[in-house]
């Protein structure tokens, strides 16, 4: 296996007594778009700040491009682009000035790309940052990140302030860098976004990684929701294995099924003459929910 772009081994971070991260293990391969999801306060931002050498790990190790994130921060950052979760910008600089500053601080320079992105993200670079909304500040940071030519893009909830149109632009940008063979580490709690973009996902909760895998691997844990209309009423549905949440709809029935049991359930349904069948693939939302249910018992 090629050297990982980003790797953490038993990464632990305490804020005084409070354990914010506990034995976090991550590994992002070249060309991978890696999703990092978790609820508020799970430790996403903390992880990312450790990865950028802004916070110092309490225990464990973290490396990017095979180098130590704390000691070699400056070297590493020459090839990393970053968008923080809370984008705070100098109130007396204009958006254009900030973008230039950011790009120059990485010694990269790409005027045409910058212009193109400013247009795509639809920001007015002549306005002072204090007049920007949260979303607009985020767009400024995104333009700066994507106009840099980096090998690894670290993005902390980059779309939390964007409208759907801009989210789409953002996704295009991610796919573009992915196609160029770059790696992306994307934290989010917008699950559809992670689902659409990411090859691999880690779920973090209360500072611990509770699940890691490819989208395909994680789906086996999940349920598919099915809505079916049959000629005859379905019998003994509740007894079939892996069935949950049965509800009557207008002409039929709606239920959820553990994805691994779907075959047997379909076989069961055909006995009653299927008129209409709709299967919705599991979203990460549901994955998340089922995971919490499992934890709660």
């Amino acid at each position: 296996m090629a050297q990982a772009m980003l790797q953490t081994v038993n990464l632990t971070k305490n804020y005084g007594q409070f354990i914010a991260l506990k034995d976090v293990n991550l590994s992002v391969q070249p060309g991978e778009v890696y999703g990092f999801i978790g609820p508020n306060g799970a430790g996403k931002t903390t992880t990312i700040r450790v990865l950028l050498g802004i916070l110092k790990a309490t225990k464990g190790s973290a490396s990017i491009f095979g180098r130590d994130v704390w000691k070699d921060a400056v070297e590493i950052h020459k090839n990393v682009a970053y968008v923080p979760g809370d984008v705070n910008l100098w109130s007396n600089l204009t958006g254009g000035e900030v973008i230039d500053l950011f790009v120059r601080l990485r010694k990269g320079k790409n005027e045409s790309r910058k212009k193109e992105l400013i247009q795509k993200f639809d920001i007015d670079p002549t306005k002072k940052c204090r007049t920007y909304s949260k979303g607009n500040r985020q767009k400024v940071a995104l333009v700066a990140a994507f106009s840099s030519d980096a090998d690894l893009y670290i993005l902390d909830e980059p779309t939390s302030g964007l409208d759907p149109l801009m989210e789409k632009v953002f996704q295009e940008c991610v796919l573009e860098v992915k196609n160029a063979g770059k790696s992306v580490f994307l934290s989010s709690h917008i699950l559809q976004e992670v689902e659409r973009l990411c090859d691999k996902v880690s779920i973090i909760r209360e500072g611990r990684i509770i699940e890691t895998g490819t989208m395909a691997e994680l789906r086996h844990l999940t349920r598919t929701s099915v809505s079916a209309e049959t000629e005859r009423p379905i019998e003994n549905l509740a007894e079939a294995p892996g069935i949950h949440d049965i509800r009557k709809s207008n002409n039929g029935v709606v239920f959820a099924v553990d994805t691994k049991e779907i075959n047997s359930v379909m076989a069961h349904l055909t006995k009653f003459g299927i008129i209409k069948l709709e299967c919705t693939p599991p979203t990460l939302e549901e994955l998340f929910m089922s995971h919490y249910e499992n934890i709660r018992g």
Binding site: R49, L52, G53, I54, L55, K56, A73, V74, E75, H77, K78, V80, Y82, P84, D86, N88, L89, W90, L93, T94, G96, E97, V98, D100, L101, F102, R104, L105, R106, K107, D124, P125, T126, K127, K128, T131, A141
Partner: protein, 536 residues
Amino acid sequence: MFANNLTLCKLIFRRDRLRLPVWFAVIASLIIGFGAALPNMFDTPEGRETILIMMENPAMIAMMGPIYLSAGGAFSLGAMYSLFMLVWSAIGMAFMNIFLVVRHTRQDEELGRIEVVRSLPTGRLANLSATLTAAVIVNAAFALLLGLGLGLVGAEDMTFSGAMLFGAAMGAVGLVFAAVTAIFCQISANPRTASAFSFLFLGAVYMLRAAGDMRGNEALACLSPFGLISRTKTYIDNEWWPIFVLLGASVVFSAAAFRLCAARDMGEGLIAARPGRRDAKPYLKSPGGLAWRMLKTSFIVWVILMPVLSMSYGSIMGDIDQFIQSADFLIQFTGGDPLRMIGFLIVLMSICSTIPVLMFMTKARAQESRGYAEHVLARAASRHSQLRGYFLFALLASVLMPFLNCFGFWAASLAVMDTPFAFSEIFNACMVYSPAMMFMLGMTVLLIGYFPKRTNLAYIYLGYAFFSLYLGGLMDLPEWLAKLSPFGHVPVLPLPVGAEIETGQIVALILMPVLGAAMTVLGFIGHKNRDMVFSQ
């Protein structure tokens, strides 16, 4: 058009329920406090005569206003009070009103609050009229309370009717500025330009008054609200006509503001906002360049302000002997020695010019806590480079500011003294504080490195230095209290004849920059090895 005016007005008072009392406390403590203190400070007519002599020059008249004397030509306490306080208290009132009106009109509009309000059944002019109504109430209350307060504390020749007139003058000036600010809020497209125009107006009418009073041109001075209130001759003739002129003017200006408000669109100004830079200037490409960009404005302001301040303090060197004799506490403080007085002025200015040194350095910490430094550090910039720019500017200030003091004092001594000081004398007296400033700077870096949330302790320490020296001289406190701050170890120059610098002081002068450098190094190391701290 005016519907719901009252509800909105109540909302303004609710939102400012803390701010307004604080403004009142500050302004009232100055006005009433000085009114109470003045009779004790200058209790003899002779003492007041000396002050009068000092005030009777064009520079002072330009600063304070024209001098009016009581019948019989005496410089009464009341005359002295109104000369010192009328114009400057009015400036305080102007500040308060500018902030009040901008906050509740233009700023709310920018934050989108007014949009919400306007979608309710409120009139188009409701917000402006509510704000101006609030301004009328606030200024009337201030006028009444300040007048009453001053009337209760004044000495015998500070009459109650004079005090009420003083209060009324404050209220009337306040209203004029509220109305003028309301006009600028309609013209400009955002709160910053509205404030900028309003303060520019304040500066302009102050200058107008200064020019008019200096040349004895009544008409010119009366074009300015500040000139008009001097014409009330408070405590002397108690003229009320300027108050009515000011009230009339605020009605006219308010009407104009309403006209303009009705004519413009929500969120727009009559003149469009000037767009900022599309691209960054070439120097904005490194942490150091960014530091300069952050400090530029305040750097320039301090470079202009320091020599002006030291020059105006230094201007008393001309009549320094009389000045000391004018008040008992000054005699006690200086032991009657003018050189000690001058030495004290230089200490004062040196402590004052340490403020920019600390400010430039603590700016680095502010960048961190506001989350700006994160952007820089996440790019190819080291921890050191993030601090370095601010440190170098602060270091520059620790040499440049004393030099500017020196320049100011020297220029003043040339202008007002019969036998001015030699440049080298003043140069030494001012520059000798540079090592102490370097020590303070080192300490600030140390705090940033190890106690980032306690960086403001540096200012508290500076405040301690000031009080230990000031009160120490005034109250015969033990000497070691002053020695706890670096400024207590600096020899006060120019030396009286026959005195010499102690060896201990020379050692201190060498040691302070060395210790400062050591703390700086430690601070940089601490900063490199710690977490970035985002909270205050």
